[in-house]
Symmetry: C2
Subunit: 161 residues, 2 copies
DNA sequence: CGGAGGTAGCTGCGCGAAGCAGCCACTTCC
DNA sequence: GGAAGTGGCTGCTTCGCGCAGCTACCTCCG
């Protein structure tokens, strides 16, 4: 068994942000998943609650846009949240296409509880980074993410400023 | 339509590395996937070729360990690489459980070509970061990833020496 | 020498996440 | 009032990841 050294990752992969990010994501998904499982939640549920808490009552379509969740999943997730008593879903009298989703008191409580649990996950995640770098790390992730989400610009962009 | 502002991500999510990483991963997967599709490859194929190039001929199990790929997928991927003439798969005379996978000349060429394509992806990915921060960013990703992969150590580990 | 336990290759299945297509109801714009 | 767009909903597909289980084979140890 020359098993030692057998698990060394090729330098070519280790040096690529794309590989690191996707690998990291599966670990993070696992970690977060465990935290949510313990609470009987899914990731999407938390995202929806967070959006409702920050922006107030909203239509399901708006929630999906804000949380980057497909409408089909919003339907299901809001239904589950409603069944759990964490949100209310009522038809919008002003626009009868819409349902207005509202955070309940209990929803607020669960959001806070889950946020605390998730904070622990974040600490675990950024543990190897010196405290001074963590904020920067988060900032960098955000910038990279924003950039990738921008509509692809194929031509030149010489005249930005 | 108060569609403007409708797509603002809740601050609670934006501030969590876990959310950022998973969101980023889906964008990266899409980006890398496009690059590989154009070449008729999958991500796994590239990882295997990279491992073979760096560490030389190896068994399929060793390849899986190095690239963090499940054995079941290694079987399939190596089969496809063999069919494409990029690797050779031969039984190991010294250990008849194993297949020894070897990179062919053509495999080497394709690896180099894909690496070039991927380099462009990395540039696109880290574009929003100042050049000085990119290396640090990669380094941080690596450290965080290593940390999450370590077997969960609940106690102390003082006597590694 | 022979059994126990571990490893390699392979097949198969399940899960989570993401995304698209199509339908109907309704609103808004022209 | 007709066309176009939006919101809610159902259904389906894809992809990446990971585990369970099987057989063949090697190695270790009594």
């Amino acid at each position: 068994m020359q098993n030692m050294g057998d698990d060394r990752v090729p330098a070519l992969l280790r040096s690529q942000p794309s590989w690191l990010v996707t690998q990291l994501a599966t670990q993070v998904t696992r970690l977060v998943g465990e935290a949510f499982d313990a609470a009987g939640f899914r990731r999407y549920h938390y995202a929806l609650l967070a959006a409702l808490d920050e922006f107030g009552p909203a239509s399901q379509a708006a929630l999906g846009r804000r949380c980057r969740i497909d409408r089909s999943y919003v339907v299901e997730a809001v239904g589950e949240l409603e069944a759990a008593g964490l949100v209310l879903r009522a038809p919008d009298p002003a626009d009868r296409r819409r349902n207005v989703v509202t955070l309940t008191g209990e929803g607020h409580i669960h959001l806070a509880a889950m946020t605390r649990t998730l904070d622990d996950v974040q600490d675990e995640l950024t543990a190897p980074l010196p405290a001074a770098e963590r904020e920067q790390f988060v900032h960098q992730l955000g910038r990279v993410l924003d950039h990738l989400r921008e509509p692809r610009v194929t031509g030149k962009d010489p005249a930005i400023s």
